[in-house]
């Protein structure tokens, strides 16, 4: 009986790292965007918080695009 423990460990680590980083990145972005919306008194429409927030959400979106690349066999 051959069990590929190495592959199992790799899958486990990849899952934990990917899940925590994507969820963390997205949450950070949402936290920043909503914090900006709450604090906005009407003066500044854009702020560093908002830009950073959208950057985080976009980064999470890019990882999703990479996931799409992995799913569709025609791409590789």
């Amino acid at each position: 009986m051959t069990i590929n423990w190495g592959a199992l460990a790799l899958v486990a680590v990849a899952t934990v790292v990917a899940a925590v980083s994507i969820v963390g990145l997205f949450s950070l972005g949402v936290a920043a965007v909503t914090a900006h919306q709450r604090s906005r008194g009407g003066a500044s429409v854009w702020s560093l918080t908002l830009v950073a927030g959208y950057a985080c959400i976009s980064a999470a979106g890019l990882i999703a695009v990479y996931g799409l690349y992995l799913i569709i066999p025609q791409f590789h």
């Binding site: 199992l8 486990a12 990849a14 949450s27 949402v30 936290a31 996931g67 799913i71």
Partner: protein, 464 residues
């Protein structure tokens, strides 16, 4: 018409039927949490999942080289054994659906094949070490890995962002969840849609209708994709309810964490050479995300019964497969008998499911999927016989009596009043004897219904 043509036609139809059950069984994996958190409306969710499943089926170009991936010796497998295995898998899929149990369709298929091959070719036809390394070990590891990842992700979200499920933030998480749920649906289409195509293609090659080494024909891709898509669209609402409402009361950040973890785990396992069952990954994520927010929000009793269901899937499907093979291998008459038994069994399960229907309308109404074996139909979803908030010792007493009633298809008079709900048979109640409807919570042990009561805010501290 030769007997070869007959058996090939029967196998193809059965394989497409299996593909349909595969679709509606696994619809919940992708969409259960999205439906529960309100990220997608139920009909929209299954439509998206169906389209992505069909798209996935068309995208996957690589045909399975073997039917079982080495679990059974493919050289010994005949179309009749495949037929018996498919019948067993369909019946097990329908039975678990009736009880709202998320279970692996692949494991049901492998189990059915193992049983059929044991009868048809003997123990040497089954590679038991591969069963351990490809089914049992992944079945243990998949929920652990997914649960750990989803739990950690959820824990961190709520630690850093305590009001993540309020106001506009919840909307963001719902949108994010729709994206990750769609990824799970697409990934599911590429793997499971292709499985049925592989089975049909291999049968066509064995029977000499197709040259060895060629890919699936266009009509095979089209019909298999259509079957899984129709299955997905039909919803499998009973399993959807367990996934989305039954295991955990999900908030949108949790739904997002669960679906993202599932997508990550499925992609990692598909590309790093250690296959994990989609169903077990998704269920593990849901439980993990419940535990990550607050341990008490997970209905552990329900989770435990789901694990029992996973453990039973392989042996139960193997038993069905063995019986089906023993009958089918006697000749064309035997195959016909198995076919009739399949139709009768499916029809019976469908009829029972109609007594306590779960549809796109009421999928989110209750965490429980109940099954009624009584003679009359019950019009509404039976709540758990134990009301939420009742003291624990009382719930155990009540459900302990419920356990004394053996669920049988024919309604038996109740021995104790507490164990059954007596309903009148409508307007003409005076003329007919009262009929008995035995409410059953999913799973083999009704006494665990105590674990299923919703841990209200007051009770949550007392649960584990």
């Amino acid at each position: 018409m030769t007997s070869t043509f007959f058996i090939v036609a029967v196998v193809i139809v059965t394989a497409l039927f299996f593909d349909f059950t595969n679709g509606f069984h696994d619809s919940a994996n992708a969409m259960g949490t999205s439906v529960a958190t309100g990220a997608l409306r139920p009909r929209t969710a299954v439509l998206i999942a169906a389209i992505l499943n069909v798209a996935g089926a068309f995208l996957s170009t690589e045909v399975a080289k073997t039917i079982s991936g080495g679990i059974v010796n493919d050289a010994l497998v005949t179309p009749t054994m495949i037929f018996a295995g498919l019948v067993a898998a369909i019946l097990w899929n329908l039975a678990t659906w009736l009880f709202g149990l998320p279970s692996s369709s692949s494991h049901a298929l492998f189990g059915g094949l193992i049983g059929a091959v044991l009868i048809g070719a003997g123990a040497s036809g089954v590679n038991f070490s591969v069963v351990v390394s490809k089914i049992l070990l992944p079945a243990v590891m998949a929920p652990v890995i997914a649960g750990l990842a989803a739990g950690l992700a959820t824990f961190l979200v709520y630690r850093w962002f305590s009001n993540a499920d309020e106001g506009p933030a919840a909307g963001w998480f719902r949108r994010g969840q729709s994206v990750s749920a769609s990824m799970v649906a697409l990934a599911h289409g590429t793997s499971d849609g292709q499985k049925t195509m592989g089975v049909i293609t291999l049968v066509l090659i064995t029977a000499g209708y197709q040259d060895a080494g060629t890919g699936p024909q266009t009509w095979v891709i089209a019909t298999a994709g259509l079957a899984i898509g129709l299955g997905t669209y039909s919803g499998g609402w009973r399993i959807m309810r367990t996934m989305g409402k039954g295991l955990v009361d999900l908030r949108s950040p949790q739904g997002f964490a669960a679906e993202t973890t599932s997508a990550a785990a499925i992609l990692a396992s598909a590309h790093m050479g250690f296959g994990l069952s989609t169903t077990q990954v998704c269920s593990g994520s849901v439980i993990g995300t419940g535990a990550g927010r607050k341990l008490a929000t997970v209905r552990w009793g329900k989770a435990r019964r789901m694990v029992y269901g996973w453990l039973l899937t392989l042996p139960a499907a193997a038993l069905f497969g063995a019986i089906a093979a023993a009958v089918a291998l006697t000749g064309p008459v035997g195959i016909l008998i198995v076919l009739v038994a399949l139709l009768a069994g499916s029809g019976a399960i469908y009829t029972i499911s109609r007594r306590t229907p779960v549809t796109h309308v009421n999928v989110n109404d209750s965490p429980d999927v109940t099954v009624s074996f009584g003679r009359t139909s019950t019009s509404s979803m039976q709540e758990s016989p134990v009301a939420a908030g009742v003291a624990t010792h009382q719930t155990i007493t009540l459900s302990g009596t419920a356990a004394a009633t053996t669920p049988v298809v024919t309604a038996t008079p109740p021995t104790t009043g507490a164990s059954a709900v007596i309903t009148s048979t409508g307007p003409a109640a005076g003329a007919t004897a009262p009929t008995v409807v035995t409410p059953l919570i999913i799973g083999p042990r009704a006494r665990e219904a105590a674990d299923d009561t919703i841990p209200g805010p007051a009770a949550s501290g007392g649960l584990q």
